[in-house]
C-alpha cells in the first residue's frame, strides 16, 4: 500500500512548527501504524533528514506512551485502540493521512509528535494513591471486596494514561483520566479513608494544570483505547460534591 503523510514537524517547544508531506510506498497491510512510521523514519535517515519523533514503547497498547491524532481522530478512527494498535489495513491504498500531536495547552509539544504529559503525573501525585506504608498491609483476604465493585474498579483502573481523552475533548478536559483513578479507589474499601481528600486534591491539581471543563459530550469515552466509561465521570462528580458538601 502507498500513502501520503502530512505530519506535524516541530523542532522543539519554541519552534512554531509546520506540516510536512511525505510519501511512503509498499507498506504491508499487516504493518502497524508505528511500523509504517519506522519505515518512513528509515527513509528520512537515509535522506539525511531528521526522523519524526514520537513517543512509543510497548507497542501492544498498554504502556500509554504512543498517541497521536490520525486524520482528526485520537489514536485513529478505530475504537478501543491505542496508536500502536492501528494497522495499515484500516486505511485505503493511496490515502492521505494527517498526523498531529495531542493538542492541549497542558500538553505542550516537546518535539514533532511528542508532548509533555507530566500534568497527568502531577495530578496523580496530588492524590491518586492510597497512603499505605510498605509492610503495614493486613492479609490480602482480610479485605473482601464485592466482585461487582472489584470488576468496576478494574474497568476504571485499566486507564493507560495516554491522554487521548484530553486530545479528543473539545475543551481539553482531563475528567475521564481523573475519574478513572478516583472511581477505582472510591469503589474499593481500601480507598475509603482518603476518599474525600483525594478527589478534592486531584480536581484542584487538574484545574491548576489548565485542563478545560467537562461539557459531557463524551468524546473521551468514544476515543479511550480502554473504553473507560463516562459513568466514572459521573461518579467523580458525585465524589466531589459529596466531599464538598458533607
Amino acid at each position: 500500500m502507498n500513502f501520503t503523510l502530512k505530519i506535524w514537524r516541530q523542532k522543539n517547544q519554541k519552534d512554531e512548527g509546520r506540516f510536512e508531506t511525505y510519501e511512503v510506498k509498499n507498506i504491508s497491510p499487516d504493518a502497524s501504524f508505528l511500523e509504517m512510521l519506522d519505515i518512513l523514519n528509515n527513509q528520512l535517515v537515509l535522506e539525511n533528514c531528521d526522523p519524526v519523533a514520537f513517543d512509543h514503547d510497548c507497542r501492544e497498547g498498554i504502556c500509554g506512551s504512543c498517541g497521536m491524532m490520525i486524520n482528526g481522530r485520537a489514536h485513529g478512527k478505530g475504537r478501543k485502540q491505542a496508536t500502536c494498535d492501528v494497522r495499515m489495513r484500516s486505511f485505503t491504498d493511496g490515502e492521505t493521512i494527517t498526523v498531529e500531536p495531542w493538542r492541549a495547552n497542558p500538553f505542550p509539544v516537546i518535539k514533532d509528535l511528542i508532548v509533555d504529559r507530566s500534568a497527568f503525573d502531577r495530578i496523580m501525585q496530588a492524590g491518586g494513591f492510597i497512603s499505605v506504608r510498605t509492610g503495614s498491609a493486613p492479609d490480602a483476604n482480610s479485605i473482601p471486596v464485592c466482585k461487582d465493585n472489584a470488576e468496576e474498579a478494574m474497568d476504571a483502573a485499566a486507564c493507560i494514561g495516554c491522554g487521548a481523552c484530553v486530545a479528543a475533548c473539545p475543551n481539553s478536559s482531563a475528567m475521564l483520566f481523573v475519574a478513572a483513578k478516583v472511581s477505582q479507589l472510591a469503589l474499593l474499601p481500601q480507598g475509603q479513608p482518603e476518599r474525600k481528600e483525594r478527589v478534592q486534591r486531584m480536581i484542584t491539581q487538574m484545574d491548576k494544570e489548565g485542563f478545560g471543563n467537562c461539557s459531557n459530550n463524551y468524546a473521551c469515552e468514544a476515543e479511550c483505547p480502554k473504553g473507560i466509561s463516562v459513568m466514572h465521570i459521573a461518579r467523580l462528580n458525585r465524589e466531589f460534591l459529596t466531599a464538598k458538601l458533607t
Partner: protein, 637 residues
C-alpha cells in the same frame, strides 16, 4: 576476586530473619543524611524508590521515560505468584521455593529463592492495600489461576493486565512520595555512566533526552532497576526502548555480569509476519490453562484447522508430558514448538507457528466465560492478525521474552561494586536458568518492597561516606567521556540507519544463540558479532545533533551496547557446555530431547568480569550448593 554471596548461616527458613536481625540499622533521624539514586521505575525501581523514601532516605528516581508509569513491567499480563494457599491445594512457601528452584533448572541460589518465596505473600497484601483490583470470586475473596511449572493455583491476577495494575500500584505509591517531595523524579534521563569514587558507587551520569545535556547525579548508593536485555535479539516482547545500557556500563565499570546466556523464550507469542516487524506481542501464558496446543500430524496440511479431525491432530505437549500437559514450563514448551516447526509440521503462512486452540474450552464453559477470562488477549490477537480467535485457533510461536542473566549480586542484592545494588530483572536473579510464569512480577516487587530497603540500610549503617560533589574528578572524567562518546557516535556519518544494524545483530543472535544453540553456531556468532560492531562504528548513520531530543542518537548508544553484550552472551553460551532451562545446547540432550544438565561441571553461576576492550572477559564462578533441594532431572512427564 573471590565471589562472596554472603549467604547467612542457619537453616534456610531462618536465614532471612536472622540476617535482618544482624543488620546494622540507621536511626530514623539520621536517615535523611543518606541519599540513593534509583535508575528505572518499573516494579522493582518504583517499589524500591517509594519504600526507601518512606524509610526517610533521600531518593532520586531516574527514568528514560516521560513518566514512571511507562516502564515495561506494565505489559506483564498473566499474574503474580504467592504461596498463600488460599486455594487449599497444598501450597506452601517451601513448595514455591521448590518449584522455582526446579523451574530454574537448579541454577539459582537456594537462599535467595527461599527468601523470594518467603516474602512473596506480603506482596499480595501490600498490593491489595494499595487498591490493586485483583480478580475476585463472588464471596469477595481473591481468585487464583494456575501457571506453567506448578500444580497448585497460586497465581493472583488482574484480568490480563496484572503487570499494569501492580505497576500502577507501585507508581501511585511513588507518586505520593514525589508529591510529598521525598522522592525527586527526573524524567527522560538515560543513565550512561556509573561513577565510582574511592571504590564505591557514588553517582551516575545521565543524558537529558529532552535537551541533550549531560548531567551528573551524586548520592551515597546507586540502585539499578533497569530490566533485562532481551532486545539484544532485536525482535522480542520487550518494549522498544528497553535496553541494557545501564547494566552494561556498570559491567564495564567492574560489576560482574552473571549468566548472560540464560535467556527465556516465551512459547506463546504472535508469530512474525514480515521484516517490517518491530516487536513481538506476547499472549499470556495463562492462555495455556484453557487452550490446547497442537499441530496437524501430516506435514503441510493446509486445511483450515476446524476441518482437521481430532485423530489427525498431534497435541504434542499432552502426548509428551501427560501430567503437566500444556502447562509445562516455558523453556520446554518453546523448545518443543521449535522442534515441531523445524520438522515441517508448523502451521500458517510461514509454517513457523503452532495452534493454540480454545474450541474445547468454549464448548465446555461457553464463549462468555472465555471472554471474561481472556477477553482483552483475544481482542489483541484479533487486532494484530485480523483473525477471530473465538472461531479459529490462535497461531503462536516462541519469542525472546525475559533474561534471567544480569549483573551478579550477593544475598544483599549488591553487585561486585560496593554501593551498587541491582534489583529486578536487571540482576542475575533468583530464576536460575529459566523463570516460571508469574515469577518476574514477584521478584521485582520482592526486591523493591521487602529486600532492598533492609539491605541498603545495612550498607548505609556500615559505610563511611566522604562528602562529594559533581566537581569530583571521577564525575568530571565520566562527564567528559560521555560527551566525547556522543560526539563520536554523531561523527560516524556512515550509510546505515542504526535500526538496520540492530536487525542484523538480532538475526545473528536468533539464528545462532536463540532457542537451540551449538558450538558451531556460537562460534559463528562470535565471528559475526565483532564484524557487526565494526560495521556499526564505521558505517552507522546517526542524524541530528547532541543538544536536542534525538531519537537516533538514543538508539545508537543502546545498540552499541547491545552489540557488545551480544558477544558476552554468545561467549557465555559457548562456555556452558550443558543444557539447562532456557539455555539449550543441542549437543547436550537426553534421547527424548530434554535438556541435559552437567551438575558436576556447571553447577555454578558464571560471573564475567570485564578486563578491557578486545579482551575475553574473565570467568568467576559462584559455586551453587544445594542443601535442601537435590538437583534431579527436571521431569514434567
Amino acid at each position: 576476586m573471590k565471589l562472596d554471596p554472603k549467604i547467612p548461616e542457619g537453616p534456610i527458613e531462618k536465614k532471612w530473619s536472622s540476617h535482618r536481625f544482624n543488620m546494622k540499622l540507621v536511626n530514623p533521624a539520621n536517615r535523611r543524611k543518606y541519599s540513593v539514586i534509583v535508575i528505572g521505575t518499573g516494579l522493582a525501581g518504583a517499589s524500591a524508590a517509594a519504600s526507601l523514601a518512606e524509610l526517610g532516605y533521600k531518593v532520586i528516581s531516574i527514568s528514560y521515560h516521560e513518566s514512571p508509569r511507562r516502564a515495561h513491567s506494565i505489559a506483564a499480563q498473566g499474574g503474580i505468584n504467592a504461596p498463600k494457599n488460599y486455594a487449599n491445594d497444598g501450597d506452601s512457601v517451601y513448595r514455591l521455593f521448590y518449584d522455582t528452584l526446579k523451574g530454574g533448572d537448579y541454577r539459582a541460589r537456594e537462599a535467595n529463592v527461599y527468601r523470594l518465596a518467603e516474602v512473596s505473600g506480603n506482596i499480595i497484601d501490600q498490593c491489595v492495600a494499595q487498591g490493586v483490583p485483583f480478580g475476585r470470586d463472588y464471596a469477595g475473596y481473591l481468585d487464583m489461576r494456575s501457571f506453567g511449572g506448578a500444580q497448585v493455583s497460586r497465581t493472583f491476577y488482574a484480568r490480563g493486565q496484572t503487570g499494569q495494575q501492580l505497576l500502577l500500584g507501585a507508581y501511585s505509591t511513588l507518586s505520593r512520595h514525589i508529591g510529598a517531595g521525598t522522592v525527586k523524579f527526573f524524567d527522560r534521563r538515560e543513565m550512561l555512566e556509573l561513577v565510582v569514587a574511592d571504590g564505591i558507587a557514588r553517582g551516575v551520569i545521565c543524558r537529558n533526552l529532552r535537551t541533550g545535556a549531560i548531567e551528573s547525579y551524586v548520592a551515597d548508593a546507586v540502585v539499578l532497576a533497569t530490566g533485562g536485555y532481551g532486545n539484544t535479539f532485536y525482535l522480542s516482547t520487550m518494549a522498544k526502548a528497553s535496553n541494557a545500557t545501564a547494566i552494561w556500563r556498570a559491567y564495564k565499570k567492574g560489576a560482574f555480569f552473571a549468566n548472560p546466556c540464560f535467556t527465556q523464550i516465551h512459547p506463546t507469542c504472535i508469530p512474525v509476519s514480515g521484516d517490517y516487524q518491530s516487536k513481538l506481542t506476547l499472549m499470556s501464558e495463562s492462555l495455556r490453562n484453557d487452550g490446547r496446543i497442537w499441530v496437524p500430524k501430516k506435514p503441510g496440511d493446509l486445511r483450515i484447522p476446524s476441518q482437521i479431525p481430532e485423530e489427525e491432530r498431534d497435541y504434542y505437549l499432552e502426548r509428551l508430558y501427560p501430567s503437566f500437559g500444556n502447562l509445562v514450563p516455558r523453556d520446554v514448551a518453546s523448545r518443543r514448538a521449535k522442534e515441531i516447526c523445524d520438522k515441517g509440521l508448523g502451521v500458517g503462512k510461514t509454517s513457523m507457528a503452532v495452534y493454540l486452540d480454545f474450541a474445547d474450552a468454549i464448548k465446555r464453559n461457553g464463549k462468555n466465560w472465555i471472554e471474561e477470562k481472556y477477553g482483552n488477549l483475544f481482542d489483541m490477537y484479533h487486532e494484530i492478525t485480523a483473525e477471530d480467535p473465538y472461531a479459529n485457533p490462535m497461531r503462536i510461536y516462541p519469542a525472546v521474552h525475559y533474561t534471567m542473566g544480569g549483573l551478579w549480586v550477593d544475598y544483599n542484592l549488591m553487585s561486585t561494586i560496593p554501593g551498587l545494588f541491582v534489583i529486578g530483572e536487571a540482576n542475575f536473579s533468583d530464576h536460575g536458568a529459566n523463570r516460571l510464569g508469574a515469577s518476574a512480577l514477584m521478584q521485582g516487587l520482592a526486591d523493591g518492597y521487602f529486600i532492598l530497603p533492609y539491605t541498603l540500610s545495612d550498607y548505609f549503617g556500615r559505610t563511611k561516606f566522604s562528602s562529594l560533589a559533581t566537581n569530583h574528578p571521577e564525575f568530571v572524567k565520566a562527564n567528559k567521556r560521555i560527551s566525547e562518546e556522543t560526539e563520536k557516535l554523531l561523527a560516524i556519518k556512515g550509510k546505515q540507519p542504526v535500526n538496520e544494524i540492530h536487525k542484523k545483530l538480532g538475526k545473528v543472535m536468533w539464528d545462532f544463540a536463540g532457542m537451540g544453540r551449538n558450538e558451531k553456531g556460537l562460534k559463528k556468532a562470535l565471528k559475526l558479532i565483532p564484524e557487526i560492531k565494526k560495521e556499526f562504528w564505521s558505517d552507522a548513520k546517526v542524524t541530528g545533533d547532541s543538544d536536542n531530543l534525538n531519537i537516533e542518537l538514543e538508539k545508537a548508544g543502546r545498540i552499541a551496547d547491545f552489540i557488545e553484550l551480544a558477544e558476552l552472551l554468545a561467549f557465555d553460551a559457548l562456555h556452558r557446555k550443558e543444557s539447562c532451562g532456557g539455555h539449550f545446547r543441542e549437543e547436550y540432550q537426553t534421547p527424548e530431547g530434554e535438556a541435559l544438565r552437567d551438575d558436576k561441571k556447571f553447577a555454578y553461576a558464571a560471573a564475567w568480569e570485564y578486563i578491557g576492550d578486545g579482551k575475553n572477559p574473565k570467568l568467576n564462578k559462584e559455586q551453587l550448593t544445594f542443601e535442601y533441594v537435590k538437583p534431579a532431572v527436571r521431569s514434567y512427564k
